[in-house]
Point group: D2
Chain length 339, copies 4
């Protein structure tokens, strides 16, 4: 870590910092400049507690780490992308995995119609929410276990693996019984109790980026799951909150190649939630292939105008079929590049 | 709700919208303009499902609600501020309640020293975290039940009521046994499972505003707790996430008078977390009194440079004593205004 | 426009609103609901002055427009994309125009080497700053007219048209003498005096989106130039300011298809300024083709480590040549789609 | 400056960095850690060009400055606050200066009525816009020189000094003939050509913080004016752009004490533009006194519901009179503290 002293810091203050650095098990290096003195402390790891405590000492202007705080999810630990098996599909092996389905499971008809259609169109996983995190307590909260059962039934019918969201530590075991991938939603990205619990199961977890989470915080939340025992984490960029109101959120597509530099975990893009607009899903899906994502999550509904949530951003069945046809040459082009 | 049709919308499309509005139990009013037609639907409540589903219909450009989505926490339901009793103290009765203590409970000595000192300086509640939501899994995660026991011991010694954070539905009952007020942290403001569970206890809850939560979302999260049975909710403005990095967050002090217009719930300000800088706590605490807050939460530590978390923003014991002396004339001035 | 009355608004207040609406030349429509009354005013245009003044009236809770405030740049005025001729190149005709060159013109050698190399690699325009908007007064401010002369010399040598930034109304005529396209930088997007002046010249203008400009504000700034007489405006998405610090800005690629829906003006992407990282330029350039942009602006420098500005985001000459080879199949794929 | 090498950086790369640092005139200090090597370069100033160029070198992960980039406006240069004389008033001497008046000058009656009323209520300066920066070209653009003449007439009548906005370098001289203080609006905070020109006049300048400007950028824009010869700069916090839409902007009151730590320039708060809501002006004005601002700018209009701009946030004449009565005890309390 680096400790920048204030411009008038005394020798006594500088010596005190050096003593404390040695106490933490680092070696201090004092560098005296014309205007200011800097102390560099190099050792094994940049512990946040140490940095914070030095920041509070007399004569210190600022203290900051040199090392990235995440380890197990880092590219420095594993150079090659982690390929994660989900049923018959693998994500992270250079292909492009598509997860499609309704925002909420609303009933058998709605779900089976969607599942069979997206399967035929070439989707790899079926998505559908049984537990819904809704901003208002007066909005539909999901079908809970009945929804999970319908998802399992749809899997039996179509062969599609199933991804669904879990909201609470108390539901993890139940959801894991039914789902192939457990999803952590944007509002729970820093629900650390939930992350720890998901570290203990043996199913893959898809972690959505928080509404206002930095890339570093996103990776640290993934690190929670991995350090607690579950290495199979998929990251999902789904838009961040900004001042812009023309779209629901701002899709941060630069996050995809940046994550590809920083971590070995697979990265998926969700343009439906990112934009809230059906018409933007198609161009952004193509862009997701081109930018290097490992997959896509898209909302599909047989009748969006009757959907209980997220209708305006859901594709109709035929629109999704068209999307899959549109994506194919982009996926092929990308494959030809890597050969 | 208001439905704006696209500029070339057909009569058939407009009639379809009117039929659907009637189906929802509202009365449609069609207003034809030179460039565009607007349909207004007036009735009991603006259901989000209805608005979303109309947004997806053919010929519709946009649809939006007229009514505020929160009800029980709204000023329209109750004009007067809710006064909430916490032990011997009442918050929301026009006075100014101060909650002070360390970020984390680190041990008996640290906690008792702080508790006795802040009690002597005039604080009303003792704060201290036993369960800590930490961005990194490698950071200190809190003393858990041992921390709760120390807080209870400190209450016995000093008479101060105790406020502490709960992170998970599974811990709510345990925390409620020890604490006088349960705190929901910024990262859990939309942990709806937790909010529902807190609606079932009979202790007050302090809900911190989410890092990137709008005022409307903040009130809807409070509404979750109240609709589930617990009317004793205190709101806490603690800074929002913006582009600015000179302070840890951006304290949104305008939220205080705005909340005072919209809701009857008491509002507290936390300048320590909002800014991350000890030197800014004092001026912003005075401003919090002047702007109309019902209370203040401040971090205090006997030796900030040895704190395991948040040292740079924690006041020393004597600094807190001075703060309380500084605030007194502002609190008195405010009281004299309301007479 | 729509005027939502407060829940207890009196008949007198409602009548007063209706009178004022008639005074503005609109027809008022009163819609009385169970909880609240809404007044809709439909007519020719939603004047901001009218909306603002009604917002201030007694009994009014809110007032908002129905119509988009931009007109001449809107898709409603002209369905087909505007194709703009720049020397031998046309932007907006379905092709993909690449503008490349150094952040700043630093001298003859640097500029000629770059210009010849990017021309050979297939770039269509040469970029280079002669007037530099720098955050600090102590940073290099550009070569001014000497830089413009070098750009003209490079055009003569390579046949590339030249785009360069203008910072002040006082420089518009001079810059227009030398440049083929005048660029308005992100910090000047709402420098309305400059926009008006650029409306009076007969050279195309490239308008960069402001650091924190909404899509609506972006289009209104373009509207300034067009209403003042210059229809040849190119829009440039170059990243917006958000809380994220891992990249310099957050590239809002969804803005491209959204702008394609709202306006007939061509749209270009600048991934260099958006991210500040050389390694992200390549994947985001591919994504820009896939998402439907009309062109790309990229920073290229013969020796980025010696650049006077923006070195970390500048491509080396050979990296740019590789980028052009990489983009070709994406551009071809896009062309094949539209056939 | 500090240069963090990548984890596998070679000796050759490290030596190359050291050579370049010596070439810039700094002394390099190499600190080898277990995981990573850091090079510290200490010397006179942290030039941005140097840092940027090192960032681009092989083997470098990151490079960052230690020193603040602003100098003349810094507290390190001058410990005491700069007191700036404006007519008979001084700002920055510990008192609280109030600037009040309409958003736009709309005509003689409107301006004289307002000026006489705010003078009687105790305002120190009259504000009023003659050149208006409007988001849409279809909105009222201001009365230009006719407005300036009316402001001068109002000054003659009331004795109030006049502050008004200048939008373009071409207007600086004209505006300076009439105004006592020239205002730079939020959209022009980084109009560097304008800042340089304002450095050459001998009237005080009030610089408003940009919509999305960091504190550092704000101070660097002030530094532009000061380095070009004009030391009389007043800073104005007027709200920043965030995701929150309940208020027009988010007032960053923590910026006031933070600026008081970093710079000797006076700081004023504008709660009218910050919030866009009349009812929030009063509580935030009190908070501005309490937090340590040197003054206040408030919009006042005789008939807000007829204002051509910013009606919803303008105080009525009697409301402003009441505000001045309300502020008095806060100003007195603050004065008593500093004794």
């Amino acid at each position: 870590m680096i400790i920048a002293m204030q411009s008038g810091a005394t020798d006594e203050q500088i010596n005190h910092i050096c003593d404390r650095i040695r106490g933490f098990g680092y070696m201090p290096h004092v560098i005296r400049g014309e205007e200011r003195t800097v102390v560099a402390a190099v050792g094994h790891g940049d512990k946040k507690e140490h940095i914070e405590s030095l920041k509070s000492a007399e004569g210190v202007e600022d203290a900051f780490p040199i090392l990235q705080p995440f380890k197990l999810v880092s590219k420095e630990v594993r150079k090659q992308k982690s390929a994660i098996k989900i049923g018959k599909v693998t994500i992270g092996d250079g292909g492009f995995v598509v997860m499609a389905g309704p925002c909420s499971v609303e009933g058998r008809d709605q779900l089976m119609t969607t599942a069979e259609s997206v399967a035929k169109s070439g989707a790899h996983l079926l998505r559908g929410g049984a537990y819904k995190p809704r901003t208002s307590p007066y909005d539909f909260q999901g079908m809970a276990e009945d929804g999970l059962k319908l998802l399992a039934e749809a899997r039996d019918k179509t062969g599609l693996a199933v991804i669904t969201e879990v909201l609470d530590t108390g539901d993890v075991e139940l959801v894991a019984e039914y789902a192939d991938v457990l999803q952590v939603g944007t509002r729970n990205m820093q629900n650390f109790a939930l992350l720890k619990k998901l570290g203990e199961i043996n199913k893959p977890v898809m972690l959505k980026r928080g509404l206002s989470a930095t890339i570093k915080e996103f990776l640290l939340s993934a690190e929670y799951i991995v350090t607690h025992g579950n290495p199979n984490v998929i990251l999902c960029e789904r838009g961040i909150r900004t001042f812009e109101t023309a779209t629901r959120n701002t899709l941060d597509l630069a996050a995809v190649p940046l994550l590809n530099e920083l971590t070995h975990l697979p990265v998926v893009v969700d343009p439906s939630h990112a934009t809230g607009k059906r018409s933007l899903v198609r161009p952004l899906s193509k862009a997701s292939v081109a930018v290097g994502a490992d997959g896509l999550m898209a909302e599909v509904h047989p009748k969006p105008e009757e959907a209980w949530s997220d209708g305006p951003q859901s594709l109709r069945l035929e629109e999704f079929a068209q999307l899959m046809r549109d994506l194919e040459p982009y996926v092929n082009l990308r494959k030809s590049e890597s050969n």
